[in-house]
C-alpha cells in the first residue's frame, strides 16, 4: 500500500515538456525606415524615432513622427476622398473593396502574423490564430454591411460623417486597425489612422495591401508618430469623428481637447475586469478561462480578467490548481510556436508593471510568480498572481496592463456582484458556474459592456465590444459598431 504523505501532488513531467525550438520562419521583410501613407502613396517624413523588437531589445526600423503639417496633409487627402470618390460610391462597390482587403489579409496572413509578433512581442500562436484571422474577419463582416446600411437602424437613412481620426493602441496593432477602419469605410467615411509608436509596422504592411487592392487614394491615410501626432489628428478642425482606443487618462485628454467642437467620439478605454468563479463551476475549465483571461497577450488587454473573485469555499484549492497550471506556461521567444507568453511590449510598460508589483508588496499582497525560465534579454515578466489583497488595494483598483492577476474571495452571489461592480471601470467581466440561471442573473447584474459566461476573451466581429463608465462609450463590432460612424440617424 502506498504510504500517504503530506506532500502536495506535483506534475511529474520528467522533461516531457522540453520541446525543441520551433520558430516560425515565414519571411516578413522590414524596411530600415518608414514614413507615412497619405493619398494612396508612401511619403517620407522626418523627426524619426525607433521601433524595437521587445523580445530582444534590438532596433527594427526608424519611423517618422508626423508633424502638424503631415497630419493636415493626411486630413486634406481624406477629405478629398470623402467628398469625391468614396462618398459617392455605391455601398455595394465600397463593400467589394472591403472584401478585397479581407481576402488579401487572409492571403498574406502568416507574413502579417510574423511581422506583428516581431514588432509587438506577442506569441506567434496568438497573432497567427487570433489577431490576423480576426482582422480579416472584421473586414469581411463590415464589407457585407456596406450595401445594407438602411437595415442597420430602424427607419434610418444613414449618411457618412465625413473624415474619421482614429488613434489605436499597441496591444493589438493590426486587429485594432481593422476594428477601426472596417466600419468607418463600410459607412462611407474616410480615415486618418495613427498607429501606436511602439507597433507601427503592421499598419505599414496594411498600406501595401491597400495599394494592391486599388483602394482609392485618400480613403485610408496612415500617419505615424506618438502622442503629439495623435493629438494633432484628434484636434484637427476638419475631422468629423474621433475614435480612440487606449488608456482612460489619454481618453480624458482627448475628450477635453474636442470639447465644444461638433466632433463625434467613441472611446474604448481601460478596464479592471472581474472574473467570478462560483463553487459550482467546472473548475478545470474555469482555471483555463482565468488563465486565458489574464495571461492572453501578456495581460496587455483592456478587457483582461485581472480581478479574480473566487467563492470562498473553493478558493484555496482553486488557487493551487491555478498556480499548478500557470507553472507550465512557456515564456520565451514569441516567434516560437510553442511559446505561451511572449514579451512585454516595451521597457516602459515593463517598468509600469514592476512599479505595481512594488505597490502590491507594500500594501501587503502575497506576490507569487511562476518559476518558469525567463529569457535573459528582451522585456519579459513571469506570470504573476497576487493574493491576500483587498478591494481598496491599488493593484485591485488600477489597471496594470500586464500578466498580473489579483485574487479575492466572496461568499454569496450578491457579494460577488457587489465586489465586481466596485470599480470605476466597466469594460468586461466573466462568470463561471454550471448553473445557467445563476450565469444569467449574475451576468445581468454586472455593470460592464461585455460579460462572458463560462468563457473569457471571446471576440467576433458580429458581437459588439465596448465599455461603460470610465471604460468609455461606443461599440466596435456588430450592428452597434456601425452607429458610431453614421450621420442622419438621430
Amino acid at each position: 500500500m502506498t504510504k500517504r504523505t503530506d506532500a502536495k501532488p506535483a506534475l511529474q513531467l520528467a522533461g516531457a515538456l522540453d520541446l525543441s525550438p520551433a520558430p516560425e520562419s515565414c519571411p516578413a521583410p522590414i524596411k530600415s525606415r518608414y514614413g507615412h501613407f497619405i493619398g494612396g502613396e508612401f511619403v517620407d517624413g522626418d523627426d524619426h524615432f525607433t521601433t524595437v523588437n521587445p523580445a530582444t531589445g534590438e532596433v527594427l526600423a526608424e519611423v517618422a513622427a508626423g508633424s502638424d503639417e503631415t497630419v493636415d496633409q493626411a486630413v486634406k487627402a481624406a477629405r478629398k476622398a470623402a467628398d469625391g470618390v468614396w462618398g459617392k460610391m455605391s455601398g455595394a462597390d465600397r463593400g467589394k473593396f472591403l472584401y478585397r482587403i479581407a481576402r488579401r489579409i487572409q492571403e498574406r496572413s502568416r507574413e502579417l502574423a510574423v511581422l506583428e509578433t516581431i514588432d509587438n512581442g506577442k506569441p506567434i500562436r496568438e497573432t497567427r490564430d487570433v489577431d490576423i484571422p480576426l482582422a480579416a474577419q472584421h473586414f469581411f463582416y463590415y464589407a457585407g454591411w456596406a450595401d445594407k446600411l438602411q437595415y442597420a437602424v430602424p427607419g434610418g437613412n444613414p449618411t457618412p460623417l465625413g473624415v474619421a481620426g482614429q488613434v489605436i493602441p499597441w496591444n493589438f496593432p493590426f486587429l485594432m486597425a481593422s476594428w477601426k477602419l472596417a466600419p468607418a469605410l463600410a459607412t462611407g467615411n474616410t480615415v486618418v489612422l495613427k498607429p501606436a509608436e511602439t507597433t507601427p509596422l503592421s499598419a505599414m504592411l496594411l498600406a501595401e495591401i491597400l495599394q494592391e487592392v486599388d483602394l482609392p487614394p485618400g480613403v485610408i491615410n496612415i500617419v505615424n508618430g506618438a502622442g503629439r501626432t495623435g493629438g494633432a489628428v484628434m484636434g484637427h478642425p476638419d475631422i468629423d469623428k474621433v475614435a480612440f482606443t487606449g488608456s482612460t487618462n489619454v481618453g480624458r485628454i482627448i475628450m477635453r481637447q474636442i470639447a465644444g467642437s461638433k466632433k463625434k467620439a467613441t472611446m474604448e478605454l481601460g478596464g479592471k475586469g472581474a472574473h467570478i468563479v462560483f463553487a459550482d463551476a467546472s473548475l478545470d475549465q474555469a482555471v483555463e478561462g482565468c488563465i486565458n483571461g489574464i495571461f492572453f497577450n501578456q495581460g496587455h488587454v483592456c478587457c483582461a480578467g485581472s480581478r479574480l473573485l473566487v467563492e470562498e469555499s473553493i478558493a484555496e484549492e482553486f488557487l493551487e490548481r491555478l498556480k499548478r497550471r500557470v507553472e507550465v506556461l512557456r515564456i520565451g521567444n514569441p516567434l516560437d510556436k510553442n511559446t505561451d507568453i511572449g514579451a512585454i511590449n516595451s521597457v516602459k510598460q515593463l517598468g509600469t508593471i514592476n512599479k505595481y508589483l512594488d505597490i502590491g508588496k507594500n500594501e501587503g499582497a502575497n506576490v507569487w510568480q511562476s518559476p518558469c525560465p525567463v529569457p535573459d534579454k528582451g522585456f519579459f515578466l513571469p506570470p504573476t498572481i497576487m493574493s491576500g489583497v483587498q478591494q481598496t488595494d491599488t493593484v485591485v483598483r488600477e489597471e496594470i496592463f500586464g500578466p498580473v492577476l489579483s485574487v479575492l474571495t466572496f461568499r454569496t452571489p450578491a457579494e460577488a456582484i457587489k465586489k465586481a461592480n466596485d470599480t470605476e471601470y466597466g469594460l468586461a467581466a466573466g462568470v463561471w458556474s454550471e448553473k445557467n440561471s445563476k450565469l444569467f442573473e449574475v451576468a445581468h447584474a454586472l455593470n460592464a459592456g461585455i460579460v462572458w459566461a463560462n468563457g473569457y476573451n471571446l471576440f467576433d466581429p458580429a458581437s459588439p465590444f465596448g465599455g461603460v463608465r470610465h471604460s468609455g462609450f461606443g461599440r466596435e463590432g456588430g450592428i452597434a459598431g456601425l452607429w458610431a460612424y453614421m450621420g442622419g440617424i438621430s
Binding site: 445594407k148 452571489p413 466581429p461
Partner: protein, 279 residues
C-alpha cells in the same frame, strides 16, 4: 478546323453531376448553336434530391456564419472569373456575381437583424431566433437568367436551408454552368442541388412529397394554373409557399424571414429558479 468536344449536360445533386435516373433528356440548342440534350428530372430524381438535401441541411446550417459567408463570396469569385465564358450575357454573369456578394454579407448578419430579445415580465431570458425551415424547392423566373438562378438559391441557403433549384430545359446549359461554379465554391455537397427538365411536372411531384418544407417561386416561374394546385397540395402538410417578384433586386429581409422559422427560448435567469407556480 478543330472538332469541338461537346459537353453532356448533367444535373447537380449531392455535389455530384448526374444524369436523370429515367434516362430521359430534352433536346435543346447550345449558345454556340450545337444540338444538346438536357437531362430531364423525374419524380425519382426529385425524391433522391430531397433525401440528399435533407441529409446535408444540418451540416450546412451548422457551419459558422462567417464560413457560409465566405462560401457565397467564393461563388462570386468564380462567376466573376468566368464572366466572359458562360452561356449568357457578361452583364448577367456579373450581376449574378454581385448577387452572391450581396448574400455573402447577409450570412453573418441576417439572424442578428431578425432575431430579438423579448422583454417578458418574468425572470427569464426570452429570445427568438430565426433558423432554417429545412429543404426548399426553388424556381427562378427564366427571364432573369443566371442572376435569377443565383437569387433563387441564395435566399434559402443564407437562412440555413438546403435548396433544390428547378430550371427549365431551355436553360439547361446555363444551369450546368452554374452547377460547375457551385461545385468549386466549397458548398458542402447536397445543400444546393440543381435539377433540369419540365418545371411544372417536377413541382407537381414536389408538392405531393411529404418531406419538402417550402416551395419558393420567383417572378413568372410557373403558369398561374399551377399556383392554386400548389396551395391545395401544400395544405396537407402545412408546407410554406413563398411567391416573390422577379430577381431585379435581391430578396429584402422581409422575404428572407419567410424562408426561415422563428424559435423562441425561455431561459431561467433567477438563481432560485423561475418555475414559480401561480396556482
Amino acid at each position: 478546323m478543330r472538332t469541338s468536344v461537346d459537353k453532356t449536360l448533367k444535373m447537380y445533386v449531392g455535389g455530384k453531376f448526374i444524369r436523370s435516373e429515367s434516362g430521359r433528356t430534352t433536346p435543346a440548342t447550345s449558345a454556340k448553336g450545337r444540338p444538346m440534350n438536357v437531362a430531364a428530372a423525374s419524380r425519382k430524381d426529385l425524391r433522391n434530391a430531397i433525401q440528399i438535401a435533407r441529409g446535408a441541411q444540418a451540416g450546412w446550417a451548422g457551419r459558422t456564419a462567417y464560413n457560409r459567408g465566405q462560401i457565397f463570396y467564393r461563388l462570386a469569385e468564380i462567376l466573376d472569373d468566368r464572366a466572359d465564358g458562360l452561356p449568357t450575357t457578361e452583364a448577367d454573369t456579373l450581376s449574378a456575381a454581385d448577387r452572391a456578394v450581396h448574400f455573402a454579407g447577409w450570412a453573418d448578419k441576417i439572424t442578428a437583424l431578425l432575431s430579438s430579445l423579448n422583454p417578458v415580465a418574468h425572470t427569464y431570458v426570452n429570445y427568438s431566433m430565426v433558423g432554417p425551415m429545412g429543404v426548399i424547392l426553388a424556381c427562378p423566373d427564366p427571364a432573369d437568367g443566371l442572376t435569377g438562378m443565383v437569387e433563387a438559391l441564395c435566399g434559402p441557403l443564407v437562412m440555413g436551408n438546403s435548396v433544390i433549384v428547378m430550371v427549365s430545359a431551355e436553360q439547361g446549359e446555363l444551369a450546368v454552368a452554374l452547377s460547375e461554379a457551385l461545385a468549386v465554391s466549397d458548398f458542402p455537397g447536397g445543400c444546393v442541388n440543381i435539377l433540369t427538365g419540365d418545371v411544372a411536372s417536377v413541382i407537381g411531384h414536389g408538392i405531393r412529397h411529404d418531406d419538402l418544407d417550402a416551395v419558393y417561386l420567383l417572378g413568372e416561374a410557373v403558369d398561374s394554373s399551377l399556383i392554386a394546385e400548389i396551395h391545395t397540395e401544400n395544405a396537407r402538410v402545412m408546407r410554406r409557399f413563398i411567391q416573390a417578384p422577379r430577381s431585379t433586386e435581391p430578396a429584402p429581409p422581409g422575404r428572407l424571414v419567410q424562408l426561415a422559422e422563428v424559435k423562441t427560448v425561455w431561459m431561467s435567469s433567477a438563481i432560485m429558479g423561475g418555475g414559480g407556480a401561480a396556482y
